[in-house]
Structure formats: structure tokens, C-alpha cells
């Protein structure tokens, strides 16, 4: 009995409007993704010429597209693609960025100076353009987009982590750890890193959202995963001209993108409000 009331009290601390909204939206998206992996109303690539551009119906929750494919199934598939790319992007950006930021922030010196110059130059360059460069030099595809966006995201993570490390490296707990003979590596990973958890989490959420939006923009332009296994942006690009005749075709993928981003965005706000 006691355990339950303790738990509810601790959970109550996390209760605010943003958190709830964020959890709900993210929950729906997550559900969609999970369901989509195992079960899909139709094969996303199955065309049915007789059923083109139908509206919302019990048979097709979001209608059909211009080739007779079920929009909802395609949305399920497309959001998985978007999610994978976004996750990969953030993994690369946050991973490499944190490492670089930690090292430059902790050690400073000439290495820091040079690195920061490179990072600053890269930082202002729009990520979409970097992806375009990458794609033009190599080929277009899911991995190319993920890698190029990931690289484009490194500077922002690096800067944030670096400034956190600059802030923390002169703190007393670092000094006492040094006095105890801790190696630098130990200090970086076991002492300072845990302290920047909050900032890092918040940046990762924001980065994820930006990645989703960037990927959507790129796939709208036709860059990234290719049809018929297209991601949400590409769907929107195809759907654009049919907005009058089959609005569900446009709004389906669009709303899903918005929900994805909004869900995480609200979650981030909710967490921030809790941390105070």
C-alpha cells in the first residue's frame, strides 16, 4: 500500500499540461510505429488502379493516393523511415558532437581553438544544404541523408557540450576528483557527464525534432529514401497537387509529422518545467 502512494507522489511531480500532452502525442506515434512493424492494413506498395484518390472511409482510414495505394499504410511505413533517419542523425550528431565538445571543453588549448573555428564555420551552414552537397557527391538514399544530416548536427551538440564542460571543469568536485588521482577520462565520463544530463537530454530532443523536419524537407525535394518506399516528405510532395480532390492524402502525412515533432517538443517543455 505504501509503495503505491510513494510512487504516485513522485509521479505527481512530473504532472503538468505539457508533459501530459507530450506523452499522449508521443504515445500515439510510438503506438503507430510499433503497430506498423507488425501489422499494416495494406501493403504500402500495393497499387489499385480502381481505387485512386479515395477519401476517408472504413476501408482506407486516410484514403488512397494517386496510384490507389492505401495512404495510412504508407504513412505507417513512412514514419518509420523518418524516425530511423532522425534517430540515426541524432545518434551521429550527439555522439560525435558530445565527444568533440567534451574533449575541447575539458582540455582547451590549441586543439580547442582550431576545432572551434571549424565547428563555428560548419555551424552556421544550413543542414539541408550540407545534405544536398553530400547527396550530389555520393548518391541519394536513406544512409546518405542520415550521415550528412548527422554531420551537420555535430556542431550544435559540440558547442553545447563544450560550454557545459567549460563551466564544469573548474568546479570543486572536479578538483577533488583530480586530487584523488582520477584519470581525465574518468573525470569526463563519470563525473562531469552525469551533471550535464539535463542539458544534453533537452538538446537531443530538440535535435530530434530538427532532424525530423530536415529529413521531411529533404524527402519533399525527392532526396533520401526513394519511392516506392518513400518517407513522409515525399508523400507530401506527391500529394500536393491533389489537395482539393483528396485532402486526406495531404493531411494524413502532414499531421503525423506535426504530431511527431509536437509530441517531443511538449515532452521537452514538460521536462523543463519539472526541472525548474
Amino acid at each position: 500500500m505504501r509503495k503505491l502512494s510513494d510512487w504516485t507522489k513522485r509521479m505527481a511531480k512530473y504532472h503538468n499540461a505539457y508533459m501530459t500532452a507530450g506523452c499522449v502525442l508521443s504515445g500515439i506515434i510510438l503506438l503507430m510505429l510499433l503497430v506498423g512493424i507488425f501489422f499494416s492494413p495494406y501493403d504500402p506498395t500495393q497499387m489499385d488502379a480502381s481505387a485512386k484518390l479515395q477519401g476517408i472511409s472504413w476501408k482506407h482510414i486516410m484514403g488512397t493516393d494517386h496510384m490507389g495505394r492505401d495512404v495510412f499504410s504508407r504513412v505507417l511505413y513512412g514514419s518509420r523511415v523518418t524516425l530511423i533517419i532522425a534517430t540515426g542523425t541524432v545518434a551521429i550528431g550527439a555522439g560525435a558532437g558530445t565527444l568533440i565538445g567534451a574533449l575541447t571543453g575539458f582540455y582547451g588549448g590549441i586543439f580547442d581553438e582550431i576545432m572551434m573555428r571549424i565547428i563555428d564555420a560548419l555551424f552556421a551552414f544550413p543542414s539541408v544544404l550540407l545534405a544536398l552537397v553530400f547527396v550530389s557527391l555520393f548518391s541519394t538514399g536513406t544512409y546518405e541523408v542520415m550521415i550528412s544530416l548527422g554531420i551537420a548536427f555535430i556542431p550544435s551538440f559540440a558547442r553545447i557540450v563544450r560550454s557545459e564542460f567549460l563551466r564544469c571543469r573548474n568546479m570543486d568536485y572536479v578538483k577533488s576528483a583530480k586530487m584523488q588521482g582520477a584519470t581525465d577520462l574518468r573525470i569526463i565520463f563519470l563525473h562531469i557527464m552525469p551533471n550535464i544530463r539535463g542539458v544534453l537530454l533537452s538538446s537531443i530532443l530538440i535535435g530530434f525534432n530538427n532532424a525530423v523536419l530536415a529529413e521531411a524537407g529533404l524527402s519533399y525535394l525527392g532526396i533520401g529514401s526513394q519511392p516506392p518506399y518513400a518517407s513522409l516528405g515525399k508523400m507530401l510532395s506527391d500529394a500536393q497537387q491533389y489537395i482539393f480532390s483528396a485532402p486526406a492524402y495531404v493531411f494524413g502525412p502532414g499531421i503525423v509529422i506535426i504530431m511527431m515533432v509536437l509530441g517531443f517538443s511538449f515532452l521537452g517543455e514538460g521536462i523543463r518545467k519539472v526541472q525548474g
Binding site: 521531411a216 516528405g233 507530401l236
Partner: protein, 312 residues
């Protein structure tokens, strides 16, 4: 003064480094242009001759200098696909994209500064909470989707403009700008939302600082404290964002131009990418990189004007 010189030096250095990177990327990675130009028709001897002629047998650094110098003179290379000078291909497109990006920038400033100040003044009031929530929703909408929605609502439903009916500036400046208003709004919305949030936070932070109390003690009104004291301090972090936003707006234009059918840089960039027409892509990317570096420099200069604590 030393600050300015230092920044100019950094700008030049960054330009050089970036140009080297761009050069290497587009001349080393893609492979041999001569082979591509001649296609399968060319014999190995012809390919070699062409390479000699194009200067591809010279050491890399020579090629780089040649490229850099001609770039600075306005010679942006020759298209692989159209055998036309890149500059002539881009000439008519650049003003269009530039105007679009500028308009978006102006809209962003016009929306975010008054809203940022207003929401900061009425913190936690009804209007503030509504605006902040709307803000978050706007930031979640990809610009091209809002572009599609705008096309639908303002174009097809309200008939305020003809979707796809781009009017060139040499036909009618009014029509040109009028058509660009809608795509500009689409680009500006998410950035304006972010800027509003940033400014609001910054003003709220500054308003709680001690110097505002001193200002009140001298008889300032709330507006006096806000506009004479707080705003200048509050703008400092916002300026960084605005600089970056401008660069992002150029990227945003690339996407939005496709939504509204605007014949700017976007179309030519995308076709060149799929055609592997590297000189064009290279010129555009280099141009944008130069712009970004310039914007950063300007932002640094503005900092110096606003915040005297930036030391030499």
C-alpha cells in the same frame, strides 16, 4: 579596432579554408570531368587531350588557385550539361531567391520583436500562454507543409494569389513582391516563433536584473526601463539567432520555391544535383557558404556595437 581586424582576418581565413574544402569536395570526389564530358564516345587519347586542355593534369593546388581566382572575378565555371557559363545560368535566379529570403527575414523580425516584447510584459497572462502554445505548434510544422496549407487556403480558397502563377520582377515589381509574400510567410513562421520565444525569455531575464531597479529609482516608467535599458541587453542572444536564421532562410527558400513554383536557385540546384552538373552545384554552395561567413561577420560586428563588454 583590434576586434574588427581580428574578425576580418578570421573571416578571410575561414573563407579560404571553406573554399579549399568545397574545391576538394567537388573536384576530387566526383571523378574525372573529362571522361564524363566525352562520355563513352571518347577514346583514351581524346580524354587525355581534354584533360590537358581543362588543366586537370596540373597539381591540385594550382587548379585550386585558378578556380578561386576566377570565382572571385565572377567566372563561376562552365556547366557540364549545358556548356553555358554558370554565372549566366544563375544570374536571373539569384535576385529571386535573394528577395524571397530577405522578405522572410523582414517578416520574421516584424512578427517576433513586437510579440516577444508583448509576451514578456504580460508574462503568464492569457495572451502569453496562448501565444506560446501556438508558437510551439508552429515550430512543429515543417515549412513546406505550411506552404502547402497557405497555397490551399490563401490561393485556392481565398484566391488571394494564383498558386504557381509566379510573376517576374521585370513584368511587375508589385506582382513579383505580392506573389512572394506567401512563400515568405511560410519560411518565416517557424523562425519567427523561435525568435519570439527567445526574445521573450531574454526580456524576462533582463527585467529581473538589478539595474532595472536602479532605473526605476531614477523615475523611469515601465516603458522607459523596457526600451531604454532592458531591450538592448535582451537583444544580445537574439542577434546570434537572427544571424543563423537568415542563413537557414536561404536553405528554406530552396524547399519553399518548390512548393510555390518559384524559378529561383532551387530548381536549378536540384536539377544540377540529379544531373551531376558539378560546376553549378559547386558555385551555388560556395556562394551560400560565402554568404553565411559574411553574415557571421556582420553579426560579430553588431555585437560589438550593442555590447561594449566584448573586449579587444
Amino acid at each position: 579596432m583590434r576586434y574588427v581586424l581580428k574578425k576580418v582576418f578570421m573571416m578571410a581565413l575561414t573563407l579560404v579554408v571553406v573554399s579549399v574544402c568545397v574545391f576538394l569536395a567537388f573536384h576530387v570526389i566526383p571523378g574525372d570531368p573529362a571522361t564524363r564530358l566525352l562520355g563513352t564516345q571518347g577514346t583514351p587519347a581524346q580524354v587525355e587531350a581534354l584533360r590537358e586542355q581543362m588543366g586537370l593534369k596540373d597539381p591540385l593546388y594550382q587548379q585550386y588557385f585558378r578556380w578561386a581566382v576566377s570565382f572571385l572575378h565572377g567566372d563561376l565555371g562552365t556547366s557540364y550539361v549545358y556548356s553555358q557559363s554558370v554565372s549566366s545560368m544563375l544570374a536571373s535566379k539569384i535576385p529571386i531567391t535573394f528577395s524571397l529570403a530577405m522578405m522572410s527575414f523582414v517578416f520574421m523580425i516584424l512578427i517576433s520583436i513586437p510579440l516577444g516584447i508583448y509576451t514578456a510584459r504580460h508574462e503568464n497572462g492569457m495572451a502569453d500562454r496562448i501565444i506560446m502554445t501556438v508558437n510551439q505548434i508552429i515550430m512543429a510544422i515543417p515549412p513546406f507543409f505550411s506552404g502547402i496549407l497557405i497555397t490551399y487556403i490563401f490561393g485556392m480558397m481565398l484566391h488571394l494569389f494564383i498558386p504557381g502563377g509566379f510573376i517576374s520582377y521585370d513584368i511587375s515589381i508589385g506582382g513579383f513582391l505580392g506573389y512572394l509574400i506567401f512563400p515568405a510567410i511560410a519560411i518565416a513562421l517557424p523562425k519567427a516563433a523561435m525568435a519570439t520565444k527567445l526574445l521573450r525569455g531574454s526580456v524576462i531575464d533582463e527585467a529581473s536584473k538589478d539595474y532595472t531597479r536602479t532605473a526605476y529609482s531614477r523615475g523611469n516608467t515601465v516603458n522607459g526601463v523596457l526600451y531604454r535599458h532592458v531591450l538592448q541587453n535582451a537583444m544580445i542572444p537574439v542577434i546570434t539567432f537572427i544571424g543563423m536564421a537568415l542563413a537557414d532562410m536561404v536553405a528554406g527558400s530552396i524547399v519553399i520555391e518548390q512548393v510555390f513554383g518559384i524559378p529561383g536557385i532551387s530548381r536549378i540546384l536540384l536539377t544540377s544535383i540529379s544531373n551531376r552538373d558539378y560546376p553549378v552545384v559547386e558555385a551555388i554552395i560556395m556562394g551560400i557558404a560565402m554568404l553565411v561567413i559574411l553574415i557571421n561577420f556582420l553579426v560579430d560586428m553588431i555585437y560589438r556595437i550593442i555590447d561594449p563588454r566584448i573586449s579587444d
